[in-house]
């Protein structure tokens, strides 16, 4: 009995060596900061009167003037990637399609024709080709949002998001631009799916304001970085960005539109800024 008690006491004393810190602190990782890159939000800026957002023409102009673009993407029933912020499709006369994932490419093209020249739907592949051939140093960030299913056929949202990931990877490899393509999403499982299948495509966790938690989740999952909503719910400074960088993460700030905010954002040295105010950089 005495020896048994002695073993127990020794075990307890030994466990004291483990017990002091139950918090996992992430190791530092050496990273390079190559300067802040400016991306045109939705191509050439949301609600810009010169170019419809999320179109080929907007992306071309954004890439011409800036360091790249950010666009929103959706997937059709045929598995093609289209540019659009919303998953739902507008009605036009007798064409009433519900959403991209329930519509074929031909139906989307027919809707495009019906809506006239003022409204255009663009596919992602021509933009990737543009990036590969005409803008060899630009970047593209693809915003992938989960959506409410508009029909039974598209109720497997996660499955369809993974299909988006697979298609993006296939296209990026086809044009040899994987290392200039980034995906951003609030859906961590989608980001993990892309991350497992491509070492070069950057995966960014979208955060609407909880910088601490976003940073911790990204470190835990091994993401490339976070896409942080700038000056909305939480302020961040150069110190936070330096800390994030010391841990091997990158940061995109969105959407930075006010002139003073652009100056301030540039001063804290994020890796990417998404802006609607393309004119500032002309």
């Amino acid at each position: 009995m005495t020896s048994r008690l002695l073993y127990v006491v020794i075990l307890a004393l030994g466990s004291m060596l483990l017990s002091c810190n139950k918090v996992n602190y992430y190791p530092g990782v050496a990273t390079n900061f190559a300067g802040t890159k400016v991306l045109g939000h939705r191509g050439y800026g949301a609600f810009n009167p010169d170019f419809q957002e999320n179109t080929f023409l907007a992306a071309n102009e954004g890439m011409r003037l800036l360091d790249g673009v950010e666009v929103d993407i959706q997937i059709s029933k045929d598995g093609s990637i289209w540019l659009a912020h919303n998953a739902e499709l507008p009605d036009c006369r007798d064409i009433k399609l519900k959403c991209f994932s329930e519509s074929t490419d031909d139906q989307i093209v027919a809707l495009d024709s019906c809506l006239g020249p003022e409204f255009v739907f663009s596919q992602l592949e021509p933009i990737f080709e543009l990036l590969a051939t005409k803008y060899p140093e630009d970047y593209i960030s693809l915003d992938v949002k989960a959506w409410a299913p508009c029909g039974v056929g598209s109720s497997d949202i996660l499955g369809m998001m993974n299909l988006v990931g697979e298609t993006v990877i296939t296209l990026a490899r086809k044009y040899g631009i994987e290392n200039r393509v980034m995906v951003e999403s609030e859906t961590a499982t989608f980001l993990q799916f892309v991350q497992k299948r491509s070492d070069d495509i950057g995966v960014y966790l979208v955060s609407f304001g909880d910088f601490e938690r976003a940073m911790q989740l990204s470190l835990e999952s091994g993401f490339t970085g976070i896409a942080f909503q700038y000056k909305e719910k939480e302020e961040i400074s150069h110190k936070e960005i330096k800390l994030l960088r010391r841990k091997g993460l990158k940061i995109q700030l969105w959407t930075v539109n006010d002139t003073n905010q652009i100056i301030e954002a540039l001063s804290i040295e994020p890796d990417f800024i998404q802006t609607d105010k393309v004119s500032y950089f002309k």
């Binding site: 006491v9 307890a12 002091c20 996992n24 602190y25 992430y26 940073m215 936070e240």
Partner: protein, 174 residues
């Protein structure tokens, strides 16, 4: 992540549990218990009712620090020890085994953060009778940790409590 409604709700619930435990244990004998646990630190508390009853309630408050006092932890824990189901009795050679289910609120203040957490600690307990009134219990099991709130103190490090961590606890009851 500031202190939030979850933390305040947990505090209220913990006080309710303590109050109900104290009121039900008023007429039953109580033992003072001291000991050490990975999530509790060095603690002092009480347990009731007696060792032969099928259910044993424990309540303890604890604290610990590292040698430089850079890391300081406070805890408040409640647990219940139960006899294992009868079907397992033939497999247990000695009548010293219990199942312990517990929860521990622990606060940690270190160089970089202040943490408010709850650890759920299911354990296997082995109880050794030392004398008529004294016994020693050893508890071993995983601790499942949930962060209630945290406050960053410096921008030097990034961390998060382990979601699952081994938990060892010694109770000495008199």
């Amino acid at each position: 992540m500031p202190l939030n409604k979850t933390f305040k709700l947990f505090t209220v619930l913990f006080c309710v549990v303590c109050r109900s435990l104290l009121s039900t244990a008023q007429e039953t004998p109580k033992n003072i218990t001291v000991g050490y646990g990975i999530y509790d630190g060095f603690f002092l508390g009480f347990e009731s009712p007696g060792i032969n009853k099928p259910i044993l309630h424990r309540l303890n408050l604890g604290a610990q620090s590292n040698f430089k006092f850079e890391l300081f932890t406070l805890s408040a824990a409640y647990s219940v020890s139960l006899a294992p189901p009868k079907r397992f009795k033939p497999f247990l050679k000695k009548d010293i085994w219990l199942i312990n289910l517990g929860a521990s609120y622990w606060f940690q203040n270190d160089k970089y953060y202040r943490w408010h957490n709850v650890a759920f600690t299911p354990s296997v307990e082995a109880r050794f009778q030392i004398s008529q009134t004294k016994h020693l219990s050893v508890l071993l099991g995983p601790a499942f940790n949930v962060v209630l709130a945290n406050t960053r103190k410096t921008t030097e490090e990034v961390g998060w409590p382990y979601h699952v961590f081994p938990n060892l606890k010694l109770h000495f009851s008199i």
